[in-house]
Symmetry: C2
Subunit: 415 residues, 2 copies
Amino acid sequence: MQAELLAVGSELLVPGRQETNAATITRYLLERGCKVVARTTIADDARALTDSFRLAWSRADLVIATGGLGPTEDDLTRECAASALGAALIREASYVEWLKERFKQFGRVMPNVNEKQADRIEGGRLLMNPKGTAPGQMVERDGKILVLLPGPPREMLPLFEREVLPLVEARSSGERIVMRIIRIAGMGESDVEQMVAPIYKTFSNPMTTILGGASEVELQLVGTGRSEALAEERVEDLASKIRDVLGARIFTESGETIERVVAGLLAARGLKLTLAESCTGGLVTARLVSVAGASSFLDRAFVTYSDQAKMDELGVEEATLKTHGAVSEDTALEMAKGARAAARADVALAITGIAGPAGGTAQKPVGLVCFALDGALGQRTVRRVFPSADRERVIQQASNSALEILRRALVGFEG
Amino acid sequence: MQAELLAVGSELLVPGRQETNAATITRYLLERGCKVVARTTIADDARALTDSFRLAWSRADLVIATGGLGPTEDDLTRECAASALGAALIREASYVEWLKERFKQFGRVMPNVNEKQADRIEGGRLLMNPKGTAPGQMVERDGKILVLLPGPPREMLPLFEREVLPLVEARSSGERIVMRIIRIAGMGESDVEQMVAPIYKTFSNPMTTILGGASEVELQLVGTGRSEALAEERVEDLASKIRDVLGARIFTESGETIERVVAGLLAARGLKLTLAESCTGGLVTARLVSVAGASSFLDRAFVTYSDQAKMDELGVEEATLKTHGAVSEDTALEMAKGARAAARADVALAITGIAGPAGGTAQKPVGLVCFALDGALGQRTVRRVFPSADRERVIQQASNSALEILRRALVGFEG
């Protein structure tokens, strides 16, 4: 079963706007064995929209459109879908009554323009929308399905789950899909690809996709089979071979974030952590605190941005700052030791670096970040240069590295 | 001039993958007076891709496809575009030689499959790509333009800027476009809409779009005119009327983030800030440190998650914690005072709240956050309840509110 999605609305095509329904629908459908082969975002233009409906209907088994079901002149989805199918629109008197009643409950009189929300495509049915005035619609014809859903995600999703997913499940060819998300930190995309491509390329099932982010790489394994157990077996077969090669470089096989993994490891070990952050300005702490239950392993942290703050709060020696500089493994280590003592923590992690854009030198370029770990997981320092001129990117990468240094120490991986 | 975009590649349709070229291209084109009316992401399927090219070519003045120009069997963009235009593909011997030379430079022999990257659509021309092996292509016919660009953004963008933008500028009808991004904090989307919709709806030029985020609302004003000055004048006309209504609730008219605005105000006033964060775990500090030059107004901050940390680091009284609780305006104020003294700062902001999912009570539900400001901008406390069950969302909204409280204090707006 193949699906095609249309997101309708000129407002979705302005810069900075991100259409989100398509991504949600894609994931739900894939889990039921239905692949999305095309998704289009399209302006409120009757001719263009009709043509896009016609093309989608000609090639997909399931066409889902979101948006354009409101009462205004710009809302053309009903008319264009009907026209593409060569079907008439029929005004449902009972739905007009329901709409009027609904307006009345809110102490308002229904404007006449809203009547067109009761227009149903001939041969189809309206899908009641408990969260808004626009009903969805569904037409089944020639073994294909057309679905129109309201655009706001909080209205779209309940209708989609209630009306569309059961149909997709019933129609799916009996193929089940299992997806596994493996994430790797501390390596670039091309390094991961070089190590695992020779393995996953020998598999046509599962299909593997590799996605690269800021110092994090994701492998998506999508396996199919006549039963979930069979699909799972195939995924595990490939996953185990990938595990043999990447080992502890993998931090999750279930799509968790690295902060969640680190939080889980700390809680399980009963270790109390503190942090001393300079260039990352509290971001590593904030990422760990974003995990529910953070109080079990973290009770305080220090953002020490200036030299004076490093001395006052963490007891870093003035001589260390003078001799080695604020961005040095020596300073990082003193920051970690001082933070650990002040917080009476088991483990401390310190981060100090040059995020830029100013402040770099030939010896210490923008992007240089020093890390130090002190306490129950041993003592070590790490020096990294992130080759980016972008301040926010350096900070993001430094925070990823900090979490990966913690994780490796927690699982005892030397890398 | 109207454009349609096609992003080609099955890998772009897997869950979690975000296609980014379309958004970049949309913004650049709009600035040159060219509107994108449809954008489609499509799988590597020859028939579907050909049909989509045919439809786009039938209705747009400019069709831009990205991706699918590699050497493998899955790379079908050249073939399908040619087929949709009814044009032949011609293998460019000189480009084959160039490719072979390029491989030689890297000490490799060109695989035969790469030869097809030298296939040019009849009547068009290849666009040299300095950053990869796949050249772009451009065909001009019947007053329309078809452009094929490589998929990786770092290859796509230089070609697009060098080859496509000058053409769009030359062809644009002389209409210039001016865009202004007005952002408002501390109000919901519907409240902003209620206040400004009666104003902007009376304008057909500029066109206004309203976008709502987590406790932040954005108004995009897009004005057109025969000159940039005229377009700018129209935008300013509407913007001034919006300003009359929203006043200091607007924190930027140039699309800046609120952390950048607050950082600029602090630096301009020469005020030194410190923060004491509990439930936000350092996020507010990290957002401020993400702004270049943060050292001019911030030298340290405290994350005090536990009661003990609040007492140790900030001198919060045990009696206050016992009587009013850790999440109270009283505790927030003592946190702010203590942080200000410890950091010898001019201004201190404290945040303490219940981010959830656990820890809520009937009196103090999840989502309750107390803020306190102390020092040179006056002393005040604020109590807010963010109605969300999602921990990360509560934290995000609390950090937005914290920055807005600071901003309002800095500009002397009481709201």
